[in-house]
Point group: C2
Chain length 144, copies 2
DNA sequence: TTTATTTCGGATATTTTTATCCTATTTATA
DNA sequence: TATAAATAGGATAAAAATATCCGAAATAAA
């Protein structure tokens, strides 16, 4: 469904958000450990998220990653997915036709579009805050 | 969502079904042309589907691929997807945890499982016959 | 100002997916 | 029986995704 890069990006963002509530900046190393992801690969993804202004990176000693506390509840999964995987999950045809077009539908178009739309709505309405709170409450997990 | 192999497998199966209704066996070449897929790669996928008894292959002159007419309405998309992509689409965690487990959910589990279940139901209830009929009626397309 | 820490970013490596090539095998028919 | 037409399947190649390495740049603190 999502690429590995996107999975890491989502999990990392949640962990960063969680720490940002406590004014704590987290290092790449801490993130990779917490979400069980390869460090260098995760670094690339974090750079990408920083370039998209989803997270903030601070270089140098005592540097790391953080998210503006006030923005956490405004950041939707959709932004992360679009930043990393692009919007093919929204516009792509389920059977790989060049474009998903109501006027030139593939055989599964009608059945597929509803599911894809539900996914779209889910991504557009889910924000980082709620996900971080679940982790904090021990109601969900970032690894294993 | 689906792998390229799976997309080709679904489209090929629909085209084979369509022809099998008219007692026509279709060649690899004809299939690849009709669904705009690479011939040799498509051959591998068809072999896979044949091994899974979803389609039937006939070697030699006047050979090709066909589906037992009476089975066309019984073949569900689910069988094709499972044969090619396996069942990770059913059991896999949306964020890549080892297993999707209600008791050890990832942050998006609750929101994800409903969408995944809708997809599952769609695949389990959609059969080749209805898809082939749409193609025949010009209501859907296999390429471009 | 030096040092330790940490992200940045380019280059490279590995793995997986997608695609191609070639020979063997099977089968209908001339 | 010889030939042509097809699929089967192993080997290989190309492309994309995933992962690693390393030096450069930035920054805090000694
Ligand atoms: S055309 Fe294939 S999903 Fe819309
Ligand atoms: S645990 Fe991640 S989708 Fe169920």
């Amino acid at each position: 469904m999502f690429s590995k890069a996107c999975e890491y990006g989502i999990k990392a963002s949640i962990f960063i958000a969680l720490n940002s509530y406590q004014e704590k900046r987290v290092s790449l190393k801490a993130i990779a450990k917490e979400i069980a992801s390869p460090e260098a690969f995760t670094a690339k993804i974090l750079q990408d998220l920083a370039r998209h202004n989803i997270i903030n990176s601070v270089k140098g000693a005592h540097g790391g990653f953080e998210i503006n506390k006030k923005q956490i509840s405004e950041i939707k999964l959709e932004q992360i997915v679009k930043a990393i995987d692009g919007d093919k999950i929204y516009n792509g045809c389920g059977l790989g036709l060049h474009t998903c077009d109501e006027n030139h539908p593939c055989p599964v178009h009608d059945k597929f579009k509803d599911i894809r739309n539900d996914l779209k709505i889910m991504l557009e309405t889910t924000n980082l805050e709620e996900l971080a709170l679940d982790i904090k409450a021990g109601a969900s997990f970032l690894k294993i």
